[in-house]
């Protein structure tokens, strides 16, 4: 019954070509000798060398990394708490408002989020810099984390936690020793999502950063507005490579875990 028809083969081939050829061209031309990005003039890695000597890009990369690590960590803690509230806390005053505030940032245009946070920071007299970007990224990323974690929490069997409590665990220990290990995959993917959202964000960072703290996307955007350059191609290639290695190794790890669990289940039977 299952047999690839020519129509499906063609649509998948064309579709994946559409998704991947632009990036392959980008990568290929980061190794181009010529300054012209559309004419091939021989293999060279000189744009990578130039990239690593570019102080502005390096410091922007450092700021971006700092912001991403801090904001995704805060967002994971706050988002996991929010997920626990959404799934576990039952009824409390202002629950509708709470869940509204969790879901609204997911559909909010970035320009509005950025503008509103900037007006807040100016209103309370907070100087714009790394701190303000971290606050902004934490706020919108925690909503994504809480959606990811709460979808895992819904299917979590509460009797496991109750058993731990009956056996003398304090509630905090029960959470740390029983609940957290079980929801850990969701928490980790929440952190990864928050991290990439922060690395990627141009619009909110542009509103909330000051002249002292420029992130990589802001730097790339202002360079790209002037046109295509091989140095940006080199930078993009590095970023694509990092993401590809990360995603592929994460999927291999989860695949192995699934296999191991299947083996354990079989061994138990």
């Amino acid at each position: 019954m299952i047999r690839m028809s020519w129509f499906n083969t063609v649509s998948l081939t064309l579709g994946f070509a559409f998704l991947y050829i632009p990036m392959l061209i980008l990568i290929l031309f980061s190794f181009n000798e010529s300054k012209l990005v559309t004419v091939w003039a021989g293999f060279s890695t000189k744009w990578y060398k130039e990239l690593f000597q570019n102080e502005a890009f390096l410091s922007a990369a450092w700021v971006t990394l700092k912001v991403a690590v801090l904001s995704s960590t805060f967002a994971t803690v706050l988002g996991t708490m929010a997920a626990l509230v959404l799934v576990r806390a039952g009824r409390f005053w202002g629950r509708t408002l709470f869940s509204g505030m969790i879901y609204a940032p997911l559909v909010m245009p970035e320009v509005i989020t950025g503008l509103s946070l900037l007006l807040l920071f100016i209103g309370i007299g907070l100087d714009r810099g790394v701190l303000t970007i971290v606050l902004a990224h934490t706020t919108f990323a925690m909503c994504y984390v809480s959606v990811v974690v709460s979808s895992r929490l819904v299917s979590f069997d509460r009797s496991l936690e109750e058993a731990a409590l009956d056996l003398g665990c304090t509630p905090l220990d029960a959470f740390r020793l029983v609940t957290l290990p079980i929801i850990a995959p969701a928490v980790i993917s929440g952190w990864l999502l928050a991290f990439t959202l922060s690395l990627d964000d141009l619009v909110i960072a542009s509103f909330t950063s000051g002249p002292a703290a420029t992130t990589l996307p802001i730097k790339i955007f202002s360079a790209v507005r002037l046109g295509v350059s091989p140095e940006i191609n080199a930078l993009s290639t590095l970023m694509i490579a990092i993401v590809a290695v990360g995603v592929i190794s994460a999927s291999l790890v989860t695949k192995r875990q699934v296999l191991r669990r299947q083996r354990d289940v079989q061994a138990a039977q």
Partner: protein, 293 residues
Amino acid sequence: MRRFLLILIPYAWLLALFLVPFAIVFKMALSDIAVARPPYFPQFDWAEGIWVFLAELDFENFVWLTEDDLYWKAYLSSLKIAAISTLLALLVGYPMAYGMARAPEQWRPTLMMLVILPFWTSFLIRVYAWMGILSNEGFLNQFLLWTGVISAPLTILNTNWAVYIGIVYTYLPFMILPIYAALERMDGALIEAAEDLGCSRLSAFWLVTFPLSRPGVIAGSFLVFIPVLGEFVIPSLLGGSDTLMIGKVLWEEFFSNRDWPVASAVAVVLLLLLIVPIVLFQRNQQKQQEADR
């Protein structure tokens, strides 16, 4: 006590960094631009009291939005661009989702990963990749000239066409995944039954497969349409000076004209514009959840 803290911390965070900023945008939309630092009027003054402050607020900015052609044209053009690119994404995404759902089962996780992988790579980079392809001396024109389809380079970059291509490219995973989820759940026996009962393959598709995948199509369309309405990066990098989108207008109003009150009013109207599709989307999702139960 512990439960109270658990609720309080994220609640307080969201109130302070989501709801309060929002209230400030509303207030700013009712203020006037001023040559000062910060560039708006009135400033809140404890000595004068809240009533004097409230009396200074007015709806002038919203009147201004209706008077100047630029704004309502930008709203309409955002709606048009979002609608056309959603349709294009559906035309590209549906066959892909269909092909994935009909692929041998052991391939499906890999195909899924291939769809999701671009989604993890930087949005900005994916948009940038098209700048080199669509420009006058870019790869697409070189290729078309080489094959002899055209005799002079086409101008695509900095037109609405480039914006459509960019949007379809970057938002395609959002369209494919819900449709794939709907198609994969479908029972293949239904198609066989339809064919046994005398349907041609095409009419079996139209009468059985497509209606069953409709929730996925609707979800995917909203997932593309809603974020595209407020899009800024794609129109500003791939679009031309005549590409009007409301996100770009807001950005320019704020950063170039430094007119914070008008930028805030634009934001408020954009939000109102978004409420209708968001409510429709939520109703569709709820209906779907109830149907699954």
